[in-house]
């Protein structure tokens, strides 16, 4: 069960020059993958594209076959109330347990009156346990990607 609670994120290295973001995105588009959400981290000379896609294993294969280097990491998706204080409550739980958030970003799709955020933790299993114990809704990957 714990395993389904984790979401696979694909990370790609991008050089900081025109066209480098377009290439992987086009490859995925042509093969009919839906990008559920993404974020980009940037440094001076390069960036890292992080993607969550419907069928990550096939997407990874496709990207690698086209010469891109892909790294897979476990993410945790959390549902928060889409109202003031929603995120604050979740962060409070983590703070209390002294769990560090490496980074996070949001899902574009909303689920009724709730927003979904993806978190990157050092130890995702421990984070899931802590969040669940505090009655925070951790969304399973199956449930999330069903819509995609």
């Amino acid at each position: 069960m714990e395993n389904l609670m984790k979401l696979k994120q694909l990370s790609l290295f991008l050089e900081n020059k025109p066209g480098t973001l377009g290439r992987p995105i086009r490859l995925l588009a042509r093969a009919g993958f839906n990008i559920v959400t993404l974020s980009i981290a940037e440094a001076n000379q390069f960036g890292i594209l992080r993607l969550i896609v419907s069928d990550w294993e096939r997407a990874k294969k496709l990207l690698e076959k086209n010469g891109l280097v892909v790294r897979v990491t476990d993410m945790v998706a959390v549902e928060v109330a889409d109202k003031p204080g929603g995120l604050s409550k979740v962060l409070g739980v983590l703070e209390k347990a002294r769990i560090n958030v490496e980074f996070m970003y949001a899902f574009t799709e909303k689920r009724e009156d709730r927003a979904v955020l993806v978190f990157r933790f050092d130890d995702p299993d421990n984070a899931i346990k802590t969040l669940k114990a505090a009655k925070v809704n951790v969304v399973s990957s199956v449930e999330l990607l069903r819509q995609a």
Binding site: S11, F13, Q45, V69, T73
Partner: protein
């Protein structure tokens, strides 16, 4: 001492085991003939001999070779295209050429007998690493003007092996053919084979499950660490073959199954090691520039050709029993050395620095530029799966460690730029490690 097994011995390898005295007699006879031929038919050589007050008759012993003038690559350019030929065109059956990276290409020629010599040494090269009739050789050296493709092709066929003339490039097809045809050996540059390994991994193919057991790698300098990586990741034995078009092509020297450095086919090529600066010979075991004299090349004899390759002649017998001397792995060329802010740097030093940080050697290229009179070095390094994370911090740290490692080893402050995987040029001929864009 490991004796060669009768079952592995191919008769064509017999000259590899000649007693030194006999070999030296043969060398002297051939050298005298070669010098006479060059003197009579190559005006540039005759002129240089006359300047030194020498004639062909002055070569009485093998040591007399040190009196003869050197030849260099620019001689081939200056006499482009046919100025160094010693045979009329009606006896020349083949021309090869190299694309000149600076200016004119160089052209080399072969008579039918020369092709026979070439075939002989390549055959002995394959036999030395245990190939024989029944082996399937996937020849991924480029066919065409480059000597690699046809050189390996003729030698493989002469041995009785099955040759697949697939030529270089199209890596997916290389892998399909390797699997479907059951290739047992492959010929290509070591950097191209690393690329094949990467592609196989991306396609989810395990090279260790295939019949492939030997790689004959050459046409560019490579390192022991590359050999270890190739052998660990593909399960094959990686052998170093050495050659250059000016002398004949691949097959000037080749490793035996002991993998202890390429044996020079001394009955056809006479090796010397000289001090790069003074031109004086250095004793066996000491490093210097490799100088080669062809002992049986009719169309284009080369006397004391300076290869620009830095190596040493290994003293002592090889365990295989061959009497042919070995050269140490050629890791660098005087050509590749660059001087930056007064410091002499070899790409192999940069390579060692990268290896220290990453554990395995990434693809890299060194770019030299000059801005406002100041030389800059940029080392472009392809990002591998091993160093990639999902945060920029981790990668920036890799970048910093690479810079530090290069500085520690060379004393040079360089910029390291991480680039996308598989964007640096892969070569089918010689890998271009240094791009000098400085306007002098």
């Amino acid at each position: 001492m490991k004796k060669i097994q009768a079952s592995n011995f191919h008769p064509v390898s017999a000259p590899d085991f000649l007693p030194r005295g006999e070999l030296e007699n043969l060398q002297l006879r051939r050298l005298q003939h070669m010098v006479g031929r060059a003197y009579d038919h190559v005006p540039l050589f005759k002129q240089r001999m006359e300047e030194r007050g020498l004639t062909a008759a002055d070569v009485r012993t093998l040591d007399d070779i040190t009196k003869l003038p050197f030849s260099v690559k620019t001689d081939l350019r200056d006499t482009y295209p046919f100025g160094l030929f010693a045979s009329p065109m009606r006896y020349i059956v083949r021309l090869h050429a190299s694309t000149g990276t600076t200016g004119k290409p160089i052209v080399v020629a072969y008579t039918r007998e020369d092709i026979g010599v070439w075939e002989n040494v390549v055959m002995r090269s394959f036999a030395a690493c245990g190939l024989h009739a029944g082996d399937i050789i996937q020849n991924a050296y480029g066919y065409g003007l480059f000597t690699g493709g046809l050189g390996a092709h003729y030698g493989g066929e002469a041995l009785g092996a099955t040759v697949i003339p697939i030529s270089g490039g199209n890596t997916e097809r290389q892998l399909t053919v390797m699997k479907d045809f059951g290739s047992t050996a492959i010929c290509c540059t070591p950097s191209y084979f690393l690329h094949i390994i990467e592609q196989a991994q991306a396609m989810g193919m395990d090279l260790k499950q295939l019949p492939l057991r030997a790689g004959i790698f050459g046409a560019e300098p490579w390192t022991e660490s590359m050999r270890r990586r190739i052998e660990a990741e593909s399960g094959i034995k990686a052998y170093d073959i050495y050659g250059l078009s000016e002398i004949i092509g691949p097959g000037v020297a080749m490793e035996c199954e002991c993998q202890a450095g390429p044996h020079v086919f001394e009955d056809w090529f006479y090796p010397e090691i000289i001090d790069v600066k003074t031109g004086k010979p250095v004793p066996d075991g000491e490093e210097g520039e490799l100088v080669l004299t062809t002992l049986g090349k009719e169309a284009m004899p080369m006397i004391r050709y300076r290869t620009r390759d830095i190596t040493a002649l290994a003293g002592g017998r090889c365990e295989c029993g061959r009497t042919l001397r070995r050269i140490h792995r050629i890791g660098r060329r005087c050509d590749d050395m660059f001087i930056i802010r007064g410091v002499n740097v070899y790409p192999s030093q940069i390579e060692t620095a990268l290896l220290k940080v990453e554990g395995a050697l990434p693809h890299y290229q060194i770019i030299l530029t000059r801005e406002k009179g100041l030389d800059e070095v940029e080392v472009q390094v392809e990002v591998t799966r091993d160093v990639l994370g999902d945060t920029v911090g981790a990668l920036e740290q890799v970048q910093r460690r690479l810079c530090q490692s290069v500085e520690t080893l060379t004393g040079l402050r360089v910029n390291v730029r991480l680039v996308q995987p598989q964007t640096l040029q892969r070569s089918e001929g010689k890998a271009k490690r240094v791009l000098d864009q400085r306007k002098m």
